[in-house]
Amino acid sequence: MKLVIAIVRPERANDVLAALHHADVRGVSISRVQGHGGELERVETYRGTTVAMSLNDKVRFEIAVSDDFCDPTIDALLEGARTGEVGDGKIFVVPLERAIRIRTGEADEAAVTPVAG
């Protein structure tokens, strides 16, 4: 089992969700985060105050998958999130020690496999 963490552009989040859906990956958590990935900073001006916005809004996906589903998940994330510009984000894959479905107590592979129907 792997935990796939992806930081993507907020405006690509819907495309990522669509791509994951097509890849039959269910079970996704997202959160809004701010970060900096080397892209150019935006300069904003409010009256006399000029600021460089060093953090950009991003969306973080967390997806727990069985090993077989890891590559399709990564492919879907690349397809949905890539614009080719600096700031497209990162994908991190980390080993997942345990996973438990709270409703049933099912563990590990069974817990990250979508319920049929």
Binding site: T45, Y46, A52, M53
Partner: protein, 433 residues
């Protein structure tokens, strides 16, 4: 008419207030529209209305007012009042308020009409292109239509009735919006993603402020405190209330839920419908008009998003359609015993309906083709739309370098030296060719 040249204090006092009320409608519209867009386009959407306050006021004072309200031919006025020449304290013929105040009042109408069209192109039109559009449209389209019904033009000569702007304001903005949506084309995400209003409270508050301002819009269009003004003022209360009731009912029947965004829309539709008819209908028929006008607008708003037509904020449904219904309604239900001017078909004067029908044919055609040509022309000079990348970033940051909901997190203060450096080192926004 010696007495007519006298300024009347009561009339003037009310018209000063009415002018300020109508001016408030433009920022109210900005708020209303801003609530409908995604949060990343809040400021740009609002700024399109603010831009009308800037550009249209100047252009209307320069030539727009003269083209609408000075002597000319049946189609357009002349340049006698260009740059407000001879627009002073002496009332216009047959009026009791200073000419200068009459100008200011009319200017506020042109401002909001131009701002209304922005609803068709929000979230993708470039701000500089929109500024140029405002300038040309407020000179080439609005004054012509205002001249037709109010400035001594051919519709007024025929006897077409338009109390507060069914022709130059409501149908003009609605059908111009249709043309603008066709030329500027759909947002890139339109039809692919759910594009939802980001703040329904803005929408409700904006609609409330619009209704408030509309008392000046309709109530002031009698240019005094006479019976027509009182009738128009009260009808502006009654008609939108009837629209709301019908809208609630339609919502309840369709989805078993009465929606807040629908209610805000209904307020606007009701105010629009009564606009041309406000001083011509009995209070009872005003309510009937409000009720009737809800139906076509309701179903167009349901149907339009299922098409490829991204007329984003449904200016055609809310303003074009409801304005058209209001103009036609006069032809049926105008009542000389209330308005002292003319009866409609129901009261034995079929000719009035014919005159109203003419306005309903000519106005949309002029507004649509005029706007279509203006935007095609501007499109030859400069891009009308932002790039897809900019569209996804949101136009607040791209066009204005500001955010509506800046948290300040990650904002690094630039000193003056930084500021000079910033222009070189930091690009405002990465632009994708």
């Amino acid at each position: 008419m010696l007495a007519a040249a006298q300024v009347n204090a009561g009339d003037t006092a009310w018209m000063l207030v009415a002018t300020a009320l109508v001016l408030l409608m433009t920022p109210a519209l900005g708020l209303f529209y801003a609530g409908f867009v995604r949060s990343k386009n809040t400021l740009n959407t609002f700024m399109m209305s603010v831009a009308a306050l800037a550009v249209v006021t100047v252009s209307f004072a320069a030539v727009g007012y003269s083209l609408a309200f000075s002597d000319g031919n049946g189609f357009i006025g002349g340049l006698d009042h260009a740059f407000l020449r001879d627009v002073g304290f002496t009332p216009r013929e047959g009026m009791t308020i200073p000419h200068l105040l009459f100008f200011a009042y009319q200017a506020t109408f042109c401002i909001i009409t131009a701002a209304l069209i922005s609803g068709a192109v929000v979230e993708r039109m470039r701000f500089p292109a929109f500024l140029l559009f405002l300038l040309v449209w407020s000179v080439a389209v609005y004054p012509v239509l205002a001249h037709w019904v109010w400035g001594g033009g051919w519709l007024q000569e025929r006897g077409t009735l338009d109390f507060a702007g069914g022709v130059p304001v409501e149908m003009a903005s609605g059908f111009s919006a249709l043309a603008a949506a066709l030329v500027v084309r759909a947002r890139k995400d339109y039809g692919r993603q759910a594009l939802l209003p980001h703040n329904a409270v803005f929408i409700l508050l904006g609609a409330g402020l619009l209704w408030f301002g509309w008392f000046g819009f309709n109530g002031g269009s009698g240019f005094g405190v006479g019976n027509a003004s009182i009738l128009a003022f009260t009808n502006t209360l009654l008609a939108p209330a009837a629209t709301l009731v019908v809208w609630f009912t339609l919502d309840q029947l369709r989805d078993r839920k009465v929606t807040a965004v629908g209610a805000a829309t209904a307020i606007v539709v009701g105010c629009v419908a009564i606009t041309p008819a406000a001083g011509f209908l009995s209070p009872g028929f005003a309510m009937l008009l409000g009720a009737v006008a809800a139906v076509p607008s309701y179903f167009i708003i349901l149907w339009r998003p299922r098409t490829r037509l991204d007329e984003t904020l449904d200016v055609l449904a809310a303003h074009g359609t409801a304005g058209l219904v209001g103009i036609l309604f006069i032809g049926f239900f105008a009542q000389a015993s209330w308005n002292g001017v003319s009866d409609g078909l129901v009261f034995g004067n079929a000719g009035q309906l014919a005159d109203q029908a003419l306005a309903v044919l000519a106005t949309p055609a002029y507004a649509f083709f005029g706007t279509f040509a203006i935007l095609k022309g501007i499109g030859l000079l400069m891009p009308l739309r932002t790039s897809e990348h900019e569209e996804s970033l949101g136009l607040d940051v791209v066009e204005h370098g500001e955010e509506a909901y800046a948290t300040g997190e990650g904002a690094i203060l630039l000193t003056q030296e930084d500021g000079a450096r910033a222009a070189e080192v930091l690009q405002p926004v990465p632009v994708v060719p």
